[in-house]
Point group: C2
Chain length 237, copies 2
DNA sequence: TGTACATCAGTGAACGCGCGTTCACTGATGTAC
DNA sequence: TGTACATCAGTGAACGCGCGTTCACTGATGTAC
């Protein structure tokens, strides 16, 4: 087993100049995060794995945080691609396509657990210092809202405030993705599960609910289309 | 403004013995985490805030991680109380009570954001070194499964595998809680929102779905009660 | 009530460590002529 | 084609730092007699 092999095939090896250090650093970052979590990521470790001196990364990234922002930015772009791919592979109607937005989201998170964790890490909650990352994130989230608006335009889902519907949907798919990314799923299911199947199940619950008996649940719960929301006063901010 | 005031009213001040250091350390920990995130929590900082020497915490906690595990354990107990409180305050049927499990969960997360982040932090994913924390966590999660089984026993929700239903529900309430805890909600809604209202909305979506037109969505999506699940083969683990 | 003593919660100095970042530098590369 | 030179991606040593944890210790407390 050869340790510290370069993953990104530099143009030539053994030279003073690396050739493709920027990408090698990103690859090494993902490797490190996979092993120890982004919490314990150090630039020195990344440099070590890329086979380069401690100071070399600063030729390509202004800081540790900037490197993580770059990893996140790529992640959001990949997520957008995953969502677009899921939509493209779907020959159904607007409702089907909306569900596939969620499937694409969750499949990306499952296939890129370390990266997903970086994208939602606390240190990158405020992305204003990294406009490209911020823009890529906004683009990812737009698919959900667009899908919801398309369904509403056809009367396929309830005409609630689409941002509110989006929040409910985002909660579910982000929650599932987080549980997958953090490795918490075994707590719930010991058996081997298909992630896409799980994502579709959750999507189906969001669309149709789990209550029996038609729409009665809706009315009884006061969540009808125009019923006023009742906000209790305990324990909220 | 007096800095470093002790929050936990020690029996007497200015003495060699603190009187209530253990609790003061936990309080200080929450303070620190609120400010800098658990990622940047250091035992030295905690000791500093409790007005005590660097080595003092080791009289009460074996390590930094043990302190965090204790914070998490208390959190799971508080979450159980919050859920029990929400159920107790509900005079409805099994379906109402199930929804209130979710509301109690989210209200706890909202009222204890820093603690919630610790409870689900990567370093505590494996709780086997802290059996008390593990047990408290298991107890919290049991409410969901119990609520689902109670509804199923009365035929109020679909008879899918209750663990699968629980996973869908947990995804949604954990997702919402995570977004709140990480402060990501402003991205979605600029306006001021009631957390309990949001939680009830999400709960309503889980129970009744957002699709229009009765149960047709269920059949069309192949998520009917006994329809076999179709597992596509792309991109899953 | 008074004293001797065990207990143990605190002190403060020290350990070794790995970190992010900076610095003056070196040497490979590619281009102008 | 050959040479001079600007560029800039790398080096490696060093900076100052705060960390988790350990150590021998000190002094407040409470209990046995």
């Amino acid at each position: 087993m050869t340790l510290r092999t370069k993953k990104s095939t530099p143009k030539r090896s053994g030279t003073y100049h690396h050739g493709n250090l920027r990408q090698a650093l990103i690859d090494a970052t993902l490797e490190v995060i996979d092993e120890v979590g982004h919490r314990n990521l150090s630039l020195r470790d990344v440099a070590r794995r890329a086979g380069v001196s401690t100071a070399a990364p600063y030729r390509h990234f202004a800081s540790r945080e900037a490197l993580l922002a770059q990893v996140a930015e790529e992640g959001y772009r990949m997520m957008s691609e995953s969502i677009e791919g899921a939509i493209a592979a779907c020959d159904g109607d607007s409702l089907d396509r909306l569900r596939e937005v969620g499937v694409g989201y969750v499949l990306f998170a499952n296939a890129n657990r370390a990266r997903y964790a970086v994208m939602f890490s606390e240190e990158l909650v405020d992305k204003s210092a990294y406009p490209a990352t911020e823009a890529a994130a906004a683009r990812s989230f737009a698919y959900l809202l667009e899908g919801i608006r398309a369904c509403q335009a056809e009367g396929r889902i309830v005409p609630d405030d689409p941002r509110r519907v989006a929040l409910a949907a985002w909660s579910a798919i982000h929650g599932l993705s987080s549980l997958i990314s953090a490795g918490q799923l075994p707590i719930v299911h010991g058996e081997r599960l298909s992630i896409a199947e799980l994502a579709r199940y959750v999507g189906g619950v969001l669309l149709s609910g789990v209550a029996t008996g038609g729409r009665s649940g809706v009315d009884r719960l006061g969540r009808g289309r125009s019923a006023p929301d009742v906000a209790p006063s305990t324990g909220e901010e």
